[in-house]
């Protein structure tokens, strides 16, 4: 349980920080595409007998770079492109898993999370990847904020906009890998998008939104784990539900506050 709690804190911190940019740059559906690419990778790993997070990470990064490349060329809309990759990755997973004999309990853990069985080695990998993602965000925060403000001005100032975009998508891919054990590939969006969306309801600038998003994601992770432990529920689903519940509550409170007592 202690390892699970550390995992929840690490994943929450990373997802909250990166989620700020996912919400700001409207990349939520891109996150869906990348996380489903990870499912394809997990299927390859389970079939081949490899550690599933390795092909999941390779698949997620590959799809992230393909999406970044597709956005640049502009022959197809972004959502169509993501739909193609998403469908392909899931179809691959279904076909590969149909070749597997026996039960698929371990698959459930990668799809919906099972952090309670996280090993010390996996926690170590998670911690290393979290350090890479958070370190990269800290180093490139202002250039990433600049391209979110106006890509064309940033390009005219000589910033490598294409490289920064690709970096952001690769960091999303690594974050998906980080979060797979906690909430699973199919629910990682809950931590990537929802806490940052909740923070945007409360704070007007990044100075408030960023730490609030990280705090909410950590609280959802740790609180969801505690709920799951106490009530014998699925941890991944509990974490996602808690995040969405906090968003719903925030929405109601902000709506009441904005409408005022006299309205």
């Amino acid at each position: 349980m202690q390892r699970a709690l550390w995992a929840a804190i690490l994943v929450g911190g990373v997802c909250g920080a990166l989620g700020f940019f996912v919400v700001l740059r409207r990349l939520a559906f891109v996150g869906v595409g990348i996380s489903h690419a990870a499912v394809g990778g997990v299927a390859i790993g389970l079939l081949a007998g490899w550690p599933p997070l390795l092909p999941a990470g390779i698949g997620a990064v590959a799809i992230a770079l393909a999406i970044a490349g597709g956005r640049r060329h502009g022959r197809l809309s972004e959502d169509a492109l993501i739909g193609v990759f998403f469908s392909g990755a899931m179809a691959l997973a279904v076909v590969l898993l149909s070749l597997r004999r026996g039960t698929q309990h371990d698959l459930f853990g990668y799809l919906f999370g099972n952090v309670l069985v996280i090993s010390p080695r996996e926690l170590g990998v998670l911690a290393s990847l979290s350090a890479v993602v958070l370190g990269s965000l800290a180093r490139w925060f202002r250039p990433l904020l600049f391209i979110a403000y106006d890509e064309e001005i940033a390009r005219a100032r000589g910033l490598s906009v294409n490289a920064l975009e690709a970096l952001l998508l690769v960091l999303m891919a690594l974050t998906v890998v980080v979060g797979v054990r906690l909430v699973g590939a199919l629910l990682i969006e809950a931590l990537l998008v929802v806490p940052a969306a909740t923070a945007a309801l409360w704070a007007g600038t990044w100075r408030g939104q960023l730490p609030l998003a990280m705090g909410l994601a950590v609280a959802s992770g740790a609180g969801g784990l505690a709920l799951a432990w106490r009530l014998d529920l699925a941890p991944g689903g509990s974490i996602a539900l808690l995040a969405v519940g906090l968003f719903g509550l925030s929405w109601l409170l902000r709506s009441r506050r904005l409408s005022g007592p006299g309205a």
């Binding site: 700001l24 904020l145 106006d150 064309e152 001005i153 005219a156 100032r157 000589g158 007007g204 600038t205």
Partner: protein, 259 residues
């Protein structure tokens, strides 16, 4: 000895797919000069700016911006740019000071100096455009005209040698437009800037510019604004007749009216 021009273009040809957009364009912009570019819709004005900024490549011709090829990272650090379709999300999560400080970012210099130094430079830039009191406000709390000034402050923040403005006064009413061009001329003189501005408002642009370029795929007219606005070539470029009020263009800060 005369300083080299900040921008020199010779015989530029640009295609967008099969369509010829710019044909044999040549001009120079020196320090302390405000060059206006006018022309009808689809004339290639924005395309010309994008070629200067290295965002598009010319098919033929020679071009030097701040002594380097367009898109050169070293030169890019010396350029301030206000694009035509600039409309950040009204809830963009940053204070005005943060947005202005972004102007200090470039591939070459990263973010220079200490936090205090950057804040001082950003505040100075806001003072130049007359909105120093708005520094702590979220960007979304500003009016359209104020946001336009923030973009200009951001462009001036890195003390550029060349300022490129694409339709900078769109959406501004007449007093705001006049104030904007007066501000631009003041900054141009104080900072010894070379300025290139594209605008559909020919009267306001001609009143503020030191030289005017009229293009419609090719250069139809080029020279002193008085000469250009009264030339037949301008009417040819726009393919219509028009009459500026009593043939006079008010030149801000300069003497001399049209014939």
């Amino acid at each position: 000895m005369r300083a080299p021009p900040r921008v020199r273009a010779r015989g530029l040809w640009v295609h967008r797919g099969p369509r010829l957009v710019l044909e044999d364009i040549s001009f120079e912009v020196g320090a302390g000069e405000l060059t206006g570019i006018c022309g009808p819709n689809g004339a290639g004005k924005t395309t010309l700016l994008r070629v200067l900024l290295g965002l598009l490549r010319a098919d033929a011709g020679e071009i030097r911006v701040l002594g380097a090829k367009p898109g050169d990272r070293r030169a890019a650090a010396g350029i301030g740019y206000v694009p035509q379709h600039h409309s950040p999300h009204p809830r963009f999560p940053a204070r005005v000071l943060d947005v202005v400080q972004m102007g200090l970012l470039s591939s070459r210099r990263g973010r220079p100096g200490t936090r205090r130094e950057r804040r001082r430079i950003a505040l100075e830039s806001l003072e130049r455009v007359g909105i120093a009191d708005l520094g702590e406000r979220p960007l979304g709390a500003l009016s359209g005209g104020e946001r336009r000034r923030v973009t200009l402050a951001q462009a001036l923040c890195a003390q550029p040698q060349l300022l490129v403005l694409d339709e900078p006064t769109v959406g501004l009413d007449l007093p705001a437009e006049q104030a904007f061009y007066a501000l631009l001329r003041r900054q141009k003189e104080e900072l010894d800037l070379a300025v290139i501005a594209v605008s559909h408002d020919l009267v306001a642009l001609a009143g503020a510019a030191d030289q005017l370029l009229c293009i419609n795929r090719r250069m139809h007219s080029h020279g002193h604004p008085d000469d250009v606005v009264h030339s037949h070539a301008l009417r040819e470029a726009y393919a219509c007749e028009f009459d500026f009020l009593a043939g006079e263009i008010a030149h801000h800060g300069r003497h001399g009216l049209g014939p």
